[in-house]
């Protein structure tokens, strides 16, 4: 024993994390590409507003509706605002909406699902019924209804996106918790006198976590699409705030007269972000849960 311990000194947690990430990224080049794209989006979200060449809100009517050129890479909109600056600055808001809604549904759906799978009985029935009721609606339509009823704000877009994703998280967490409720380590924890909630938080939740994290990255793309769809029809974000969905909506009118850049670039940014999250999610799932690969 001592020889082995001496031969392989314990890695520091940071080094272990680094080694594992490198393993994950070299496994699949597509995942590595998606991860690079993700870092780029993250950079744009954090530093975007500070590095853009123009003020995203400043209009200059002499420069209105100019096609892409050397000064304005993505052209200018009907008020002469720089589309490039607006697309980059919008990353923060769109990214925030996606992350916030996914984090929220992770908390709501993950906890409710784990509790349902672990306790069974009434908890299970109530969570299952709530999930079924949400699933009875076409999801985007329900999100529209929720935002319309709760009020037209960004917070409610986040909440609505979280609610429509609730069944997905609750079901996965429930199934994963259910198979583990009588596992050996749970029995051991129970025998050593842990209370139920303590087993739930200390034993079950950490085991279900990786699968839920994969689910988070898979639903990020859907969350961003859903939020952009809502703002496209005029809910949540209000002009002149730069946001991809609303920018596409504002540019839509110019599409029929040939000024394509107004709607194209924010739409393309949206597409790249969703594509990146979907690829990243698929890659993570293949690593965490290879059986579900299609």
């Amino acid at each position: 024993m001592t020889e082995i311990a001496a031969a392989r000194p314990r890695e520091s947690p940071v080094a272990a994390l680094f080694r594992h990430s490198r393993h994950v990224l070299t496994q699949n080049p597509v995942t590595a590409f998606a991860f690079g794209l993700f870092l780029l989006i993250l950079l744009a979200a954090v530093f975007g507003p500070y590095i853009v060449p123009y003020d995203p809100l400043a209009s200059d009517t002499t420069q209105a509706l100019k096609p892409p050129n050397a000064q304005h890479w993505f052209g200018t909109d009907q008020l002469g605002r720089d589309v490039f600056s607006r697309v980059i600055s919008a990353t923060r808001l769109d990214f925030f909406i996606a992350v916030a809604s996914v984090a929220l549904v992770f908390l709501m759906g993950g906890l409710a699902g784990v509790a349902a799978g672990f306790f069974g009985g009434w908890t299970d029935r109530i969570v299952g019924r709530v999930a079924d009721t949400i699933m009875a609606f076409p999801l985007f339509v329900l999100a529209m209804g929720i935002v319309a009823a709760l009020g037209n704000t960004v917070q409610n877009i986040v909440l609505a996106t979280a609610i429509v994703n609730f069944p997905l998280y609750a079901r996965i967490a429930r199934a994963e918790a259910n198979v583990r409720r009588d596992a050996g380590f749970v029995e051991a924890a129970r025998l050593s006198g842990n209370a139920d909630w303590r087993i739930l938080v200390g034993q079950i939740l950490p085991n279900v976590l990786p699968i839920l994290v994969v689910q988070m990255s898979l639903t990020m793309g859907y969350a961003i699409l859903n939020a952009a769809g809502l703002s496209f029809i005029g809910l949540g974000v209000r002009p002149p705030t730069p946001e991809w969905g609303i920018m596409v909506a504002e540019g839509a009118a110019f599409m029929v007269s040939g000024q394509w850049w107004n709607a194209f670039f924010p739409g393309a940014a949206l597409m790249v972000a969703v594509f990146c999250f979907n690829l990243l999610g698929d890659g993570l799932r293949d690593i965490v849960d290879p059986r579900r690969r299609t």
């Binding site: 079924d132 009875a136 999801l139 985007f140 596409v248 599409m255």
Partner: protein, 337 residues
């Protein structure tokens, strides 16, 4: 068979009850006083009180809910504040436009996705297989309103092949006499090929937009289930007996592989009905989605509530139909129940 249908129908009842409760709760969550809201911005306190009594908002919650259910049973979804029209009447006149678009969208998506999935499964890891994966991933990544705008730009502005994206029919044509409400079918019944072509031209782009967005689950499922079936014993036997490879793929494998694909149709309809709202806005389509969006922006809640309810009921019924069709096709399901 009848018992299966009745059992499945009974299973849809809790969903419908849930839908009614949720749509009721949505109105009660409206910010502020709903009576002041329904009375309009210029109402006096007295008028608000009148509206409150008239709408029964002074009664306890449970009575309000009872009243809502009774209204629903009478087919009353309230009146729109902006147009003054009854919501049910408006939804009824606009529903055929949405239904025609959605069904054609489904048709387009099945017509692309199923052959693509079959071809990808027969040649795994070929160029075509990768193309299938890329197309289906790109399909779900493309925001549906963005696809629509790109199609408009390319086919209307650049190529001039498509008509202006402004509704169901060009202004030069008159709508065919209403029989089904579907312009394609009505114009054929009226024996008017010109109107048929005109209506079809208007429909192609929005239907294609919907199809591209919703083909991913069908293509993926077709591919996966074809792969599973093709590796089974009876396919090997069929091949060993010297049947031509197309007979094996279409008659033997495809018919068995279709079963899981039918179950994904439920998810596809969720996609289609949601995306429908966005596509209708892009193409100025006079369906129930654009009606709801207009009402939403005017803070007119009754049409939105009616719209959400209609969509949810349609979705529940569609899922029920999918289940029943599945039972008809696969006798094993009947034995189990």
């Amino acid at each position: 068979m009848m018992t299966l249908i009745i059992k499945r129908a009974a299973m849809a009842v809790p969903s419908l009850i849930g839908v009614v409760i949720v749509t009721f709760l949505l109105t009660r969550m409206l910010p502020g006083d709903p009576a002041a809201y329904f009375a309009g911005p210029a109402a006096t306190p007295q008028a608000i009180q009148e509206v409150r009594v008239k709408l029964g908002l002074d009664k306890p919650m449970i009575q309000q809910f009872g009243r809502y259910v009774v209204d629903l049973a009478h087919g009353n979804l309230g009146t729109s504040l902006t147009t003054g029209q009854s919501v049910v009447a408006e939804l009824r006149t606009r529903l055929p436009a949405s239904a025609e678009l959605t069904l054609l969208g489904l048709l387009v998506s099945v017509a692309i996705a199923v052959p693509l999935g079959i071809l990808a499964a027969t040649r795994p890891n070929s160029l075509l297989d990768h193309a299938c994966r890329i197309i289906s991933t790109a399909g779900v990544s493309l925001p549906v309103f963005f696809t629509g705008l790109i199609l408009i730009y390319v086919f209307y502005y650049l190529l001039g092949w498509a008509p202006a994206p402004l509704g169901r029919l060009d202004v030069f044509y008159t709508a065919p006499p209403q029989v089904t409400g579907f312009y394609l079918i009505d114009s054929l019944i009226a024996g008017d090929p010109e109107t048929f072509t005109a209506a079809l031209k208007q429909l192609i782009l929005p239907a294609l937009t919907l199809g591209v967005f919703s083909l991913a689950p069908i293509a993926r499922m077709t591919r996966a289930s074809m792969l599973a079936v093709l590796s089974s014993d009876f396919i090997r036997t069929a091949r060993a007996n010297g049947l031509s490879s197309w007979t094996v793929i279409i008659t033997y494998a495809f018919r068995n592989a279709m079963l899981p694909v039918i179950t994904t149709l439920g998810m596809v309809f969720s996609f289609l009905l949601g995306a429908n709202v966005l596509v209708e806005k892009v193409f100025a389509w006079p369906g129930i989605g654009s009606y709801a969006v207009e009402a939403l922006l005017a803070s007119d809640f009754a049409p939105v509530q009616g719209f959400v309810l209609t969509m949810a009921v349609m979705y529940v019924v569609l899922n029920l139909m999918i289940d029943i069709v599945y039972g008809l096709i696969d006798p094993r399901v009947r034995v189990e129940t």
